[in-house]
Symmetry: D2
Subunit: 342 residues, 4 copies
């Protein structure tokens, strides 16, 4: 079986990462590669690391260009996905790397993004309870945000097992590629290197409602989430530290057992041996989630730490994994648990 895949928004970081993964996917043929302002330029100009595609000319993102593909990845600014998807027909697998269809609540959408809410698509975090069932055969998939990927996986087993009170404090340290290729002064290398900074503090980051949606669904009741992202001087990677007040007198070993059970069969979640803690470098370029969890008995909190590559598991890899499930392919096809380090 050969799956023909188009990528819209190919000149950005998310689009580039999709292409990087598809180049090694055994069942995929890369079709149209499109963008907006960079249409007409060679792909090598935007992604010099994708040597086999260096001479491909980026097309314009039009319905015609995207027609005739089995799968279309959308790596677009929010608000553009629904219209394109509508034109592609119901049989095409549309994988939205953007935010448009992540939130179930139209009210949340209005509050955090504004504009019309264009619906809620099956959510591409296969590790969540029931998610694989919803993804199998799906023709529309909303890939999670990079932060909610890490934070949800870090805490879901705790809420699922009833170990946690319904509140969570999540601080996630991210590399700069999460902000995309936009030319903003604070993203210049001169500003970023040697510096850490917080942003979207106080619940102002748009991934907050996605955290709440995910964790509340797992907990079966509303979970209050305090989320703070921190920008760190590295191109890739998210290290999430997440804690929650313990609802039981579970100790570290009991908590570990719950996590082991939750993730025993997951191909892309690696609970590290006791005493080892995740590093983002170990996940670079891989779809792997490195995870560790413990209990702070004095503070009465469960503390979990997760490392992912924000562009792979956090974006493009999560999308490819969901595509594989939707199409009935091997879930791990085109994906790896091996990082590039040091």
């Amino acid at each position: 079986m050969t799956v023909k895949v188009a990528v819209a928004g190919a000149s950005g970081y998310a689009g580039g990462e999709v292409l990087r993964l598809l180049l090694t996917h055994p069942e995929v043929e890369i079709g149209a590669v499109t963008a907006a302002s960079s249409a007409g330029t060679p792909l090598g100009q935007h992604h010099p690391h994708l040597a086999p595609l260096a001479d491909r000319v980026v097309g314009e993102t039009t319905t015609e260009a995207l027609a005739g593909h089995d799968v279309v990845f959308l790596a677009l600014p929010h608000g553009h996905s629904a219209e394109i998807a509508a034109r592609l027909g119901p049989d095409v697998v549309v994988i939205d790397l953007g935010a448009d269809h992540r939130l179930a609540s139209a009210q949340d959408w209005q509050r955090w993004y504004g504009g019309e809410h264009t619906g809620h698509w099956p959510y591409g975090l296969p590790e969540l309870p029931g998610a694989r069932e919803r993804l199998r055969g799906a023709r529309r998939i909303a890939v999670p945000g990079c932060f909610p990927t890490g934070g949800t996986l870090a805490l879901a087993p705790a809420f699922a097992a009833g170990l946690a009170k319904p509140e969570a404090t999540i601080v996630a340290v991210t590399g700069t590629s999460g902000a995309g290729r936009s030319l903003k002064p604070h993203l210049l290398g001169s500003e970023v290197m040697g510096s850490a900074s917080a942003y979207g503090v106080g619940g102002a980051h748009r991934h907050t409602p996605e955290f709440i949606q995910n964790l509340s669904a797992v907990a079966g009741r509303p979970v209050a989430v305090s989320f703070t992202p921190v920008l760190a001087p590295m191109p890739r990677g998210i290290l999430t530290t997440a804690s929650t007040p313990l609802a039981t007198d579970a100790d570290a070993e009991a908590v570990r057992v719950a996590y082991e059970k939750a993730y025993a069969a997951e191909p892309f979640v690696q609970l590290l041996p006791t005493g080892a803690w995740p590093t983002t470098a170990a996940t670079l370029g891989s779809n792997n989630v490195q995870l560790q969890v413990t209990v702070d008995a004095d503070a009465g909190r469960l503390v979990a730490v997760a490392a992912i590559d924000n562009l792979t598991k956090g974006t493009a890899g999560g999308g490819v994994q969901s595509m594989n499930i939707a199409l009935g392919l091997q879930e791990t096809a085109g994906l790896s648990t091996v990082g590039v380090a040091p």
Copy 2:
């Protein structure tokens, strides 16, 4: 007035930073510069950035070498300060950059460090209520740990004003110099660059009891603290994100007023304008603390973010500031609020 100052442990990062600051201190003459294993080597070999001291030969840390100084800075592994201090006589100002005399509780000391607790010295965080009074004329000073410096200043006004419930979640992103010059594999550049990692998770970091001690003193009752340090790829800087459940219905503006009041007269705490968030780069090499605070109404939490240079305000600069107070010098002498950026 010329103050003659010795530095023991001069070949490490903390010792080097003390020397860097003393070089510009208008009232100080640098006397003995000593160490253990690097005794006999030129200082330029260890601190090539201290050009004016390049040819100074590092002496051995002995009572004789340290005698005859008005002030002695101790930048030593824990457990060594009390004995040296005892030999220096009661009139010498001994400033301990190590952990030995930070904790008031012998029990805490036993639990976190082990070995004999050699007492509690006046605590060199002048911004805490009552601290300046205790530091004036002091001849023994315990300089706070780098993490507690940032985290305590981030939350103290909240607890002092009764805005916070007695618990705090603190995640602090630190540069590598906080770990000193020890040759450990995970501190190699190859491992650190491009990577973020957590350590001492679950209340395992030795700065945890110091946080509790400080915040409980301000709050007037025991405060539970969940502390997680994160190592980030930068040589210097700590970005602390700290949050606490609101005890009142204070909004962001009310919280800001409390912080403004608390720090209005502080020469080294800069509450940023609303909407601006601290970056560690802005404090590089300076004794400045950049601070911002807000309220996450949905989560019911106060969230504060502080940036410091871990070696300056977090170690050596805090020590020099306390020395100035102890000796009745201008508190800001030899210190700056100007960082080196970008």
Copy 3:
């Protein structure tokens, strides 16, 4: 065909990179994984990025452990390869990632490394004239040094085409992993980040005779080489800038033609479009060499720039490529031209 491969020196960076590549090699089964001081520990402790091998216990590097393999990679300190190779028997493909068998001249060996010269093995830089012939069927292979890989490929076409006078000035900017995992103060993250430094200046670096050997062979006469390595704050990558006085009045276009001809059929050398210049990030984790060349008419010099990943094409990838040739496998098996970026 399944090739059983052992890796000796598996806990270092070069050994880890060999394992990373072998994990995706379609014809390879990873056999013994051995080391010296880290024998007995799980591989995941040394290479957390190699998730599928995390639980493998590192064996001790003994003749017994390495017996029964088709291929043995040696990632050892210099001086250890010959003895091990002798014990493995003549039919085993021994691929030495170390320096022991790179130099043809025993005198050069003596001068630069000291100790006994244990011979010259077929040199694993397939892109050099005649190299593939020598590698086919070879059972002993000396993988080039990382610097000579970049610098030789940058200048070989110029010397081969008679465009250059017999001297070259090579400055190569390298990431820190080239220095391995040794615990040296100047390799600490705190020292490396934010800093560039030169070392081995004035012809003192051991890769100098290897440059001379390679370029002289191509030129057909002795080439004088001034080589300066520069350590830069990045974990991987070598950016080589190499220049040589023009021997003809060739302009940039004529030079380009010579380079195009030289590398047209090479799977791992990518001459970039005119005006584009190599970046090491584009080669991260790949076996690709990005190359550009031009003429500085005022200075009368040809200037070439090459980017490689020092651990991949510069070490382990070059070794796997040579292994493939020696065994008659697809030369590109287990290797990629796709980097991980940004």
Copy 4:
């Protein structure tokens, strides 16, 4: 004496660095702080590290705003300095951090920059033979480019002493701040971190004629210069490696003697002890030049390495140093040889 100083172009990196230095200058009062597009915004928004100036509102760069100052620093895009200088009157000390008045040759100016050549001002590299005489009492000063500062100081003694043949190969590794604050994709943190890249290769960089001008003047005959800049992942610093064919049979010791003689009295040039090599980190924020030189006997070349902070000695610090000389102040006022490290 209080010198009133204005800075035009204050929101960029060069302007910010001038302000950082002036804040500690004992004889200076900072007057107008102006810019173009950022006029009307608080300085703290652009330079959060300059805490004491955070609330200063940036004025517009007009003749009126700059009037009434003793000294005006111009940190402007090239082509704007002459007109502003003309309006300021002949008694004001105008210090041009831009390129406009560095080149003596109108023809060079035309070739490299285009547009009208507005003249050659006294060149602010005091360490060059005769430079201090030209700077004393000067009212117009052209501050050297950052690359020519490092490269000229690295090789001048060799040419002055007749040790070198009239050609030089210079490769300079620079931090990103040298490119200023312009929003270009290749300067984004995501692109820069983990990557080294060359640019302006083949004599295409505009600093090339400035190198030639400087070295030819010292040598007393035309010197051919091959210059290649390399962008490295660090915010500040230039590490220059420079080599030249030996004109004599001088050995390393003889060369060293020439350099010692040349720089013995220089407050900001530090020839390191034999065997020690410069690191850019050691000069961070300082006006110091760290220098080392040796001989590569095999290659017949003298090789020198210099480290500077591109924004300090390479731009703003060089300007302040020249201002001090012009006004008859202590040459080192407001400047330091102490870097901020690690």
